[in-house]
Structures are given as structure tokens and as C-alpha cells.
Symmetry: C2
Subunit: 167 residues, 2 copies
Amino acid sequence: MTDDRRSGCPINLTLEVVGDKWSLLIIRDMMFGNRRHFRELLTKSEEGISSNILADRLKTLLEAGIITREDDPSHKQKGIYSLTEQGIELLPILAQMAAWGYKYLPVSEELGIRARLLSEGGPKMWAEFMDELRQTHLGHVRRKKGLSVGERLQAAYERVAKRNDPA
Amino acid sequence: MTDDRRSGCPINLTLEVVGDKWSLLIIRDMMFGNRRHFRELLTKSEEGISSNILADRLKTLLEAGIITREDDPSHKQKGIYSLTEQGIELLPILAQMAAWGYKYLPVSEELGIRARLLSEGGPKMWAEFMDELRQTHLGHVRRKKGLSVGERLQAAYERVAKRNDPA
DNA sequence: GCCAACCGATTGCAATTTGCAACTGGTTGC
DNA sequence: GCAACCAGTTGCAAATTGCAATCGGTTGGC
């Protein structure tokens, strides 16, 4: 971890932290797929990250203060990774990326549905989702009123996935 | 240019196109610094990109339909790079990155002022700025009423830069 | 017409990063 | 006690990055 920066530009600094091909995908899986353990992130990812890269990125994200790690009381070896407030606030970047990719790139139907809903929901829905993430990752109390944004996104995904693969 | 994708997820696809350390910085310079020639992008960048990387990224961005290149009538060797509509619509991603970096990373004062204004301006200001980019890059007519967003950002930057280095 | 400065790249090469596969040392459940 | 699972680590090859020098051509000044 050398801390020589190319410049003090906020966009550049952000890219130096999360501007690689994997970090934001890990964040995405933590946010939308609720992956919290190493194995979950390793095996349940669409893209198939390898374990050394995952370990390296988790370390980097830890050092950057984007995630935290604590021991899982149910299993001595398991660690639970959580997003920090700083990590949760990466959501708008992911949402904009999802919207742009949905509009211009050959997105698959199952994986695109969440992007569409999130894009249509706009900043208001993002804020709501970030509040839910604060509850699950920072231990804030949950106020419970109907389906959460996370649940709605997941349900929409499963509907499309099941429709396309009714096996 | 192999087109095997890791997954059809919109975020992943977006990262495969612009998820490296340089592409978005080039877009940033085209948007905020109005760099349109190879030399300008090469020498006037804060971070000091090297020429082979720049050439490679410009080629990639061309193939992805994010920028276009046309000959400069004033110089047979010069090319003018322009953003496409698709490229202009990367602005919200850059704006969110700027806002996040401004909030959480050690941004320099000069380079941070634009991020602050852009963040405070919100989606409305982004839309206005994107309209201006359509004018300069896509040749849309300019309706002229007061200072443009680009001019305001530039003026703010120069005020801070001059204050900090009154040489 | 000549030459220096500038133009958009390209090339060779070393250093870094990535990615795969196998493996480690340990824990848990049956 | 043993198979399955856990979070990583290691060795090594391949790909990417980054620097410096260079290329062939264009332009402006004289």
C-alpha cells in the first residue's frame, strides 16, 4: 500500500481506490446479493473471481475504510464483511453505472431488470436502499413497512430469471 | 479486442468498458478541460499519462462508441476527438465519483472546487452541463444565456488556483 | 528550400498486475 | 474420526502497464 497519488483530483482519487475491474463488483455483491462471507463472494459471483484476487481486494477495501471485518460468532473461521457508511455511499456510483450499462451495453435480461428498476426509482429509491444497507451493515434499527427496496429488486430478478429458465 | 464478457450484468459491462485507471480520466479531461487533441490530452493532464496508453485507450473508446475522431482541417496530422451522446452520458458517473472522492478522500483544494460545485448543483446542473457538451461535441446550436456551467466551473477553479499560487 | 518545432502515434523492454490451480492449516457436523 | 467446509496463501505463467526513445510526416519561420 503505497500512498503516492497521481493527483489530488477527486475523480482520480476515487479511481485509485475502486477503479479496477473487481472492487466495485465485490461491493455490488455485498449490496445487492447480501454476500457477507469470503466463500459467498467467491462462489456466488456471476463473474468468477479467483480467491487470491478476492483476498487482495478485500484487504484493500478494508484499508480504504470501505468495508469492515468481524468474526462470525457461529464459526471460528468465518469472517463477516460489512459495508461502512463510506462504502454504502458508493451506491449512487453503482446505480449510475448500472443505468449507463443498461442503456448502452448488451445487458442480459435477468441481470438488467434490477438496473432498470433502480434507474427508474431514481435518487429517492437509492436513498431508501442506502437506509436499508445501513440497517443490515451498520446495525441500525429496521422500521419495517412493506417490502424493502432490496427485496423488491431481488423479487423482480427472480421473476425474470424463473421466466427465462423454468427448469 | 476480444468480446468475451464476464457476465451480462450492467455494472460489470460498464466496468469492462471504462473500468480501468485511465479511460474515465481521459473522458474527464475532454469534458471539463475541453481537451480535444492527442497532444492536449497527453501533456495537459494532471496525472501524466504515457503516449502508448493514451493511444490504446483512445482506440478502445472509439471502438466502444464513446468518442469519435475526425481530421482537424487546420492540420493534416491533427485529429479532433469528440464525445458521442453515449460518452456525454458518462457525466453522472463522473459526477458521483467526484462527489464521493470529495467527501472521503484527500482532495486538493483547487481540484476539489469543481467537484463541490457540481455536487451542490445536483442532477439539474449535470443535465445543463450535458447540454453544453452536446453543443460543443455534437455541434448542437448554442442558445447563450449567461455563463455556461463549464465556464462557471472553470472560473471557480481558476479563482482557487490563483489564490493558492499568486505567482 | 531548409530546418526546428510540433504532430499523432509506435516500438522495445522492464516492472507490475492478473489469473489459474493447487494447496495450507484449521473448524465443523455427522 | 472423517468428510466437507472455511478463509485464505503460494507458485508460476500470461497479460497489462509504464517509461523512454523513436518514427514518419506536417507546419511555420526565415
